[in-house]
């Protein structure tokens, strides 16, 4: 926790970074089949783009198609089901503002293996760039801390993001990392085939086709 003392006190003092670049850096840190849940909005598209490689796309990602605001709850569910796997929720500011209660639920459950990354561009970018409350001063990291997520911080810059994500991978959570993001378009568009996304994700997590027992 002392490591968090050097991070910016608020959104205004954090560097404006690029969503694809941050997603790429994050995926680059994942070497142990960590699960990643992409919320809707452009965060989802850049996770998809950042997860491609010459060996194929990483299967431990889940991409929502709607259910705005549920990246954090879905990630919490995965974290509860698989306490030995690190789980990341990647969510936009507009989306997390829709389900702020989920931050206090995460704080109450205190999963050691969960990290929430907020891509805060101050806008509902995918629907036309209308301003969200964070553009008017709402501070997601401050809200998270007040919700009980003590290990919440703004990433001052790209190096600070990598440092924070590294902490989330090695130290007990829950963690929340705020990333202030520019309004560049995403690099690609996620394929919209829900059965395939779910099946690939479950196989990627080793929880089989139908999960649980007695499913023959």
């Amino acid at each position: 926790m002392t490591a968090l003392a050097n991070h910016p006190a608020n959104r205004d003092s954090a560097k404006t970074m690029n969503r694809y670049d941050i997603a790429k850096r994050m995926v680059g840190l994942l070497h142990r089949d960590e699960a990643v849940i992409g919320g809707i909005g452009y965060t989802n598209f850049d996770l998809w783009a950042a997860s491609d490689s010459p060996h194929g796309r990483r299967p431990q990602n889940f991409y929502m198609l709607g259910s705005m605001g549920l990246a954090v709850p879905i990630a919490l569910g995965v974290a509860i089901a698989q306490p030995h796997r690190k789980v990341f929720a990647l969510e936009g500011d507009g989306s997390v503002l829709m389900q702020l209660g989920s931050l206090s639920t995460v704080a109450a459950r205190a999963p050691k293996n969960l990290c929430i990354v907020i891509m805060d561009n101050g806008a509902y970018q995918i629907t036309g760039g209308q301003l969200t409350a964070t553009a008017h001063g709402a501070d997601i990291v401050g809200i998270a801390q007040a919700s009980g997520l003590a290990q919440s911080a703004w990433a001052a810059d790209e190096d600070a993001f990598v440092e924070l994500a590294g902490l989330a991978l090695t130290e007990d959570g829950p963690w929340l990392i705020g990333c202030r993001i520019d309004n560049e378009k995403p690099k690609d568009t996620t394929e919209r085939d829900p059965a395939r996304i779910r099946d690939g994700f479950m196989r990627g997590l080793g929880s089989g086709q139908a999960g649980g027992r007695g499913s023959a």
Partner: protein
């Protein structure tokens, strides 16, 4: 031997390995919630919204853990969007147990109206639902419906009628 409706529910959930219980509370569900909290087999906690409870259950299912959501009829009315965009298209067997308000002695007009939206929404989404009215049928319905939900990877909703639970009595 299990005799009360909530003991039957608890025992059938255990038999089917449904151990994660997320809920937004309701007075009629109270004995079930208490029975579940009293049993270390279950991981149970309140959520801030029913949508959140559904999302947690969906993530847990994909991670290999089975769960169920408990809520009131008014809570169900907040779910159509996430049922239609998450549970149904992704083939996630979201289990829901709803204590039915709005009928058989309802005293709150808001509850009466919101309850009218539940079955049309379930039907529109082609989600299997069972209205549970009788103690002697409870185990059979739950047991068979849970088998089907997991085998077909489809959501299922159990509506607990006041005929089963006693409902909420009008207190002046």
């Amino acid at each position: 031997m299990a005799v009360a409706w909530y003991e039957i529910v608890r025992d059938v959930l255990k038999r089917h390995d449904v151990s994660l219980v997320t809920y937004v509370p309701d007075n009629v569900l109270r004995p079930l919630i208490e029975a579940i909290h009293a049993d270390p087999f279950f991981t149970a906690f309140a959520c801030t919204r029913e949508e959140e409870a559904l999302g947690i259950g969906a993530g847990a299912y994909m991670g290999g853990l089975r769960g169920i959501l408990l809520m009131q009829t008014s809570g169900f009315a907040t779910l159509p969007n996430v049922l239609a965009s998450l549970s149904v298209p992704f083939g996630i067997p979201t289990l829901m147990m709803v204590s039915e308000r709005g009928t058989l002695g309802e005293f709150n007009i808001g509850q009466q109206l919101v309850a009218r939206t539940m079955r049309p929404v379930l039907d529109a989404l082609n989600i299997e639902s069972h209205t549970m009215t009788r103690l002697d049928e409870a185990e059979f319905i739950l047991d068979r419906a849970l088998v089907q939900a997991f085998a077909t990877m489809a959501p299922c909703c159990f509506i607990l009628s006041p005929l089963l639970t006693g409902g909420k009595i009008f207190a002046k």
